[in-house]
Structures are given as structure tokens and as C-alpha cells.
Symmetry: C2
């Protein structure tokens, strides 16, 4: 138990938190990871108890090398998910004076893209739950707004980075990839045009061309070609939709 009143400053300092919007894709729907704010988890949880919220928490000034490390640490603590530091992309700072009723808190929102199938097991089901984007509940604090901004940020980024790489399972089908893009951008594409566009990037490798060559109902399986993916990412990427 820490003593109170240990830290003294000449000027008022705001508290700083990092919040995480973790997107996952199960091959059908885009989902995000939320936590239930417990009534007594920690001293800071005395607001919005019982409501759903984005995982996140206060920066540890001594331990966290950057605010992304805060995001990483808090996500692990609150949901069990351990992601690499480079998986976190900054969305924006949220600093409205009244966004937290307890004290002045500014948060740096981050988002991360994960292969849902690979990590679903490691999320602590006691505290955290995956929600389809279509039925996200109302969230604590200004987390609704943060989520909206994170989504629009993802929609931007998708034009410049082959985002699918991070969200898709190792092995996937073209309809799944198309469905992901459609879920994120909230539009519909023509099957053939989408397939052509993707194939022209040369990022896709056929995994298992199981006999039935074409005109079958079971889709062809692909994996990403990591080399070409890295080349594309380095030299920039332009995706028109």
C-alpha cells in the first residue's frame, strides 16, 4: 500500500493514461476488446463502475519508457493480451477538461490489430470480452468518441498500409479478406475487381490449391508473402477504393 501525498509539484500536473482500441477479426466480423469496469479493482476505478470501457490505465512515470509502453502494460494487466510495442499505433490525445470526473486526465489513445484466432485464448475472459463492432455497448468516459476516432483512423491507414496482414489469420481466403475491408470501410466491393487488385500487389501466395481448380464452392486458401509485404510497406502503398 502506497502512502498518499508522496509526490509534490510546483504546478498542477494532469494525470496521463493510455487507452487501447484492440481490433480483431475472426474471418466474419470486425471486433474490439472491452473490459468491464469492476467496482473495486483499483483506486482509479471508482467511476463508471459496471460499465464497459476500453482497456487502459495510468502511465507509470518510472516504469513506462513511452506512452506506448503504458498501453502495452495496461492491456496485459487488464485483459491478459501481450502485444509487441510496435503493434500499438497512436490515434490521438483526448484532453477535454471534463472527460474524467475525478481529476484532470488526458489520455493518449492507441489502436492495435490482432489475429483474433491466435489471441482469443489468451484473453482473460473474466475481465475482457470481444464485441462485434455492430453491437458495441455504450462505453465509459469519452470512450465512445475515442472508438469512433480510432475507427476513422483505421479507415485512413488502410489506404497506405496493407493492414490485412495483421488482422487476418495465417491462412485465409479472398472472401475473408474482402469481408475485412468491407467491414472496416463499410462498403461493398465487386468480387472480381477486389481479387484482381489484391493479386496485382503480389502479396498473396496460394497455400493449398486442393485439386478443384475453379468454379468450386470452397474458397482457395492464401497466405501473405512476407517479403513482398515488407517491400510494399517500405516503399509506400497506395490503395484506391
Amino acid at each position: 500500500m502506497k502512502k498518499k501525498g508522496q509526490y509534490i509539484y510546483e504546478y498542477k500536473h494532469p494525470a496521463v493514461t493510455a487507452d487501447c482500441v484492440v481490433f480483431g477479426y475472426d474471418g466474419k466480423e470486425l471486433k474490439i476488446l472491452l473490459i468491464k469496469r469492476g467496482p473495486e479493482k483499483e483506486a482509479s476505478s471508482t467511476a463508471f463502475t459496471g460499465s464497459w470501457a476500453l482497456p487502459g490505465g495510468f502511465m507509470d512515470v518510472d516504469k513506462d519508457q513511452t506512452i506506448a509502453h503504458t498501453a502495452q502494460r495496461e492491456l496485459k494487466e487488464e485483459t491478459g493480451l501481450k502485444l509487441g510495442i510496435k503493434d500499438f499505433r497512436e490515434v490521438a490525445a483526448f484532453s477535454d477538461r471534463d472527460r474524467d470526473p475525478r481529476e484532470r486526465v488526458i489520455t493518449i489513445a492507441h489502436y492495435a490489430l490482432v489475429k483474433l484466432a491466435a489471441v482469443e485464448a489468451s484473453t482473460d475472459a473474466e475481465k475482457a470480452e470481444w464485441f462485434s463492432m455492430k453491437d458495441v455497448p455504450s462505453l465509459a468516459f469519452d470512450h465512445d468518441q475515442i472508438l469512433r476516432v480510432a475507427c476513422s483512423r483505421l479507415r485512413q491507414d488502410i489506404h497506405f498500409e496493407p493492414v490485412g496482414f495483421d488482422l487476418m489469420p495465417e491462412i485465409f481466403t479472398l472472401p475473408q479478406l474482402q469481408n475485412l475491408y468491407e467491414s472496416i470501410l463499410e462498403v461493398k466491393f465487386d468480387r472480381r475487381n477486389f481479387a484482381n487488385k489484391m493479386k496485382h500487389f503480389g502479396m498473396l501466395t496460394v497455400v493449398e490449391d486442393g485439386t478443384p481448380r475453379h468454379g468450386t464452392r470452397t474458397p482457395i486458401k492464401y497466405r501473405f508473402d512476407k517479403e513482398n509485404y515488407d517491400r510494399l510497406k517500405a516503399k509506400g502503398f497506395q490503395l484506391e477504393f
Copy 2:
């Protein structure tokens, strides 16, 4: 004079600042606004005295409604420039543990675009100076890095927003506009293609078609059509280069 040690927190809080990268364009070169860190301006200026830095300063937890208001206020205090709150666009948070030798400080960097001709007079020449992007000196703290990120952010944004509107003087010529885009993106364009592209957006209005119709060395003057500009901005903008 404030008393020291007034503010006590249960946990360590980082200090939070806002820094500003203010871009201006004089029709020839892209410039940014820097301040000289004085030896005794304020308590916080005891590091990097004498070096050039981005304008910015500590968040006032009581006064600043958002971190953008911090940027606005500090820019005014340090350079004399009074911009609207919506002129500030967030770049990113910089939070490396050792970015400030004095205490843990995280900064939210912003950028702003101004009509240099219109504001040059109101910048306080005692403290602030406009530097061509080509001869920016080495900056205090991690401001070199912040500037680099701000530039790449501007390069991104230019594809989606008709950025020229904010940077160009009221009256301008096509070569000036082209030069601006070339300065920001660090590329060269074909005169005719650039002109066609811009004209197709319908944002340009001829101001003064002074007799010599074509084949003259004095360029045609334009102004932006604010209505069409707003329409374009609202419905999104796609600029391929």
C-alpha cells in the same frame, strides 16, 4: 510568485506540454516558426538555453480546455501569433523517458498552417523567427524529431485536404501553388498536368485576367473559391500525386 510544492498527488504525474510546428509559405519557400530559448524567461527554460526550439509550453490544468488550447495559448505568449483553435492539428505524442532532462515531460505536438504574408507582421521578432525549411538549425530537446514527424504528417494530409487554402496568400499564381506542393512533397510536377488537375477541382477563380491572355511571363492570378472548397472538404478529397 507562486508558492512551491502546492500540488500533491498520490502517484507520480508527468508534466504535459504542447508544442507547435507552424508552417508558413511566402510564395517561394516553405518556412517554420522557431523561438530562441532565453536564459531566464521562465522557470522551465533552464535547459537548452540559447538554442532554437519549437514554440510550446506546459499545459495549464485550470485554464486550458484541451491540449490544443495549450498550444494556442503558448504560441501566442511566445511568438505573438494568435491562431484559432481549429487551426491546430494534432501530430502525435512524444513521451520518451529522457526527452527532457529536468523531469518526465510528455508533449503533444501540433501543426498549423498560416498565410505567412498575413501574419509575418504580428510575430514578435524579438523572440521568434521564420526559418526556411532548408536551413532549420538543430533544435532543442527532441524537437528535430517532432519536426520530421510533423512534416510527414503534413505530407499525408495534403492528399486528403486542400491544404493550399490555408497556406497560400489570398491572391496567388499557379506556379506558386505548384511550388508549394513541390516544397511539401519534395518532388517536381509537370506544369500542365498540375494546372489541369487543380482546375478540375473547380476551386480556383481567376482574379485579374490582365490583358495578356497567354504566352506571357507574368502569371495569371487566382483566388480560392471558398464555397467549392468547403464542399470538397466536406465530401472528402482524393489527390493523387
